[in-house]
Amino acid sequence: MKLHRIISLSLLSALLLGGCGIEPWVKPYERERLADPIMQSSRDALADKHHEHVYDVREGARGATGIQGGGCGCN
């Protein structure tokens, strides 16, 4: 319930602020370096999935990686 409340408030705040017209301080034409593939946290979905699987089945922590993994196979 608490989690739902946090998500709802976050979404509502984002929607409300989205209409405030805050001026972007990095203009679109200044974002060429940010658009380069080497700035991505996950360039290759399959390879990243395999790595995430390796970690997931051996480590107790999970989640918040930006990659959906999980798994089996194997301790």
């Binding site: 972007p24 034409y29 060429e32 380069d36």
Partner: protein, 408 residues
Amino acid sequence: MRCVRRWAGVLPRLLPVALRRDRVAAKSHTELPETTQLPAADCLGPLYRGAARVGGLLGGVLATANAEAVDLPGDRADAMYHSFIGGGVVANGPAILVRKSLEDVVSLSAFNYVDMVSNASIDVVTTASPYKETRVETGVGLDYVYRDALISLTASTSREPDYIADSASIDVAQDFFGGMTTVSLGYSKGWDTVEKHNDPSFSQPANHWQYRLGATQILTPRWLVSLNTEAIADEGYLQSPYRVARVFGAAVPEVDPGTRTSRAATLRITGSVGAQGAVHAQYRYFWDTWDIRAGTEEVGYSQYVAKRWLLDGFVRHYSQSHAIFYSDDFATEETYMSRNRQLSTFNDLGLGAKGSYSIVREPGRYEIKFTAAYEWMRFHYDDFTDIRTGKLYSFDANVVELFLTATF
């Protein structure tokens, strides 16, 4: 075995706004008039001159048509061989992924992933017999762009002789503040069925709920920061039907609680370095109702070399405290008891490298790349002993991925 954790969907997750826009840039490249050139582009290498040109056009596109701010993941096909060798376990196999967009509004994807496992790990050799088995996972996905939002739906199923895991997920990403901020929300549900070799009557359910909330923020023309959080709730049969705990040296069936709730938050910062490099650093903190606390630190560097090479390197360190019901050897019998070393106090260190070579490339149209990735890992356990020697257990592992990627 064996998994008390499910495979969730594999399909590409929501990408920060800058990453998705790269696709717009790539598409726009072929339409770029030769006269379009940024003033600073002459100072850059050939790669960045191209990027600067498409970046200029991209800026125009984004400035004049906000609906273009989100874009579908690029069309691609991957064929991979993966391998993990370490601690008596050999797990390898092929995997494929295909993604294709329709009318630039919908992108469909499908994947198949095979794990052929030969298991002679310390758990297996000290309490049972080595075994071999194969796990096959298949999934499909659909991504849809609506105004400034990207909506992704995925479903997958994983089958092995004694474990079935099905899952479905929905994710939504929305741009704000002229594309400076991307907020993402996600939800997944998993339905597992745990079975047992040589016992057809054994079948236990395990259900999983995942809630994701994240944001990526452009800081400067060279730096991005992101914060991802995820809460996961599990309910059902969360242990292994094979693993045993020890009480005064005697083996007894392990008993884990039937519920678990965990939370994790990852902070990541990525920066462009020099003309053709990028550096990243990230930290994840994890905590759960089983009293496990964990931290993961990672730093990495990526660099274009010549025209066809992209090299990456990283260092990753992970450490955790043990679950409240974990013990290497219990002094008394308790309600919940586990000797699962995944729940023990341990740390691991990983050193990784990856190299991609562009075999054929027609900018803005297609590219075929070969990539080789390797990670060396060392696991060291602080309260899990090798009962054959009485010493604390540790092992090294080698992780390999070899794959061909076609983007088109």
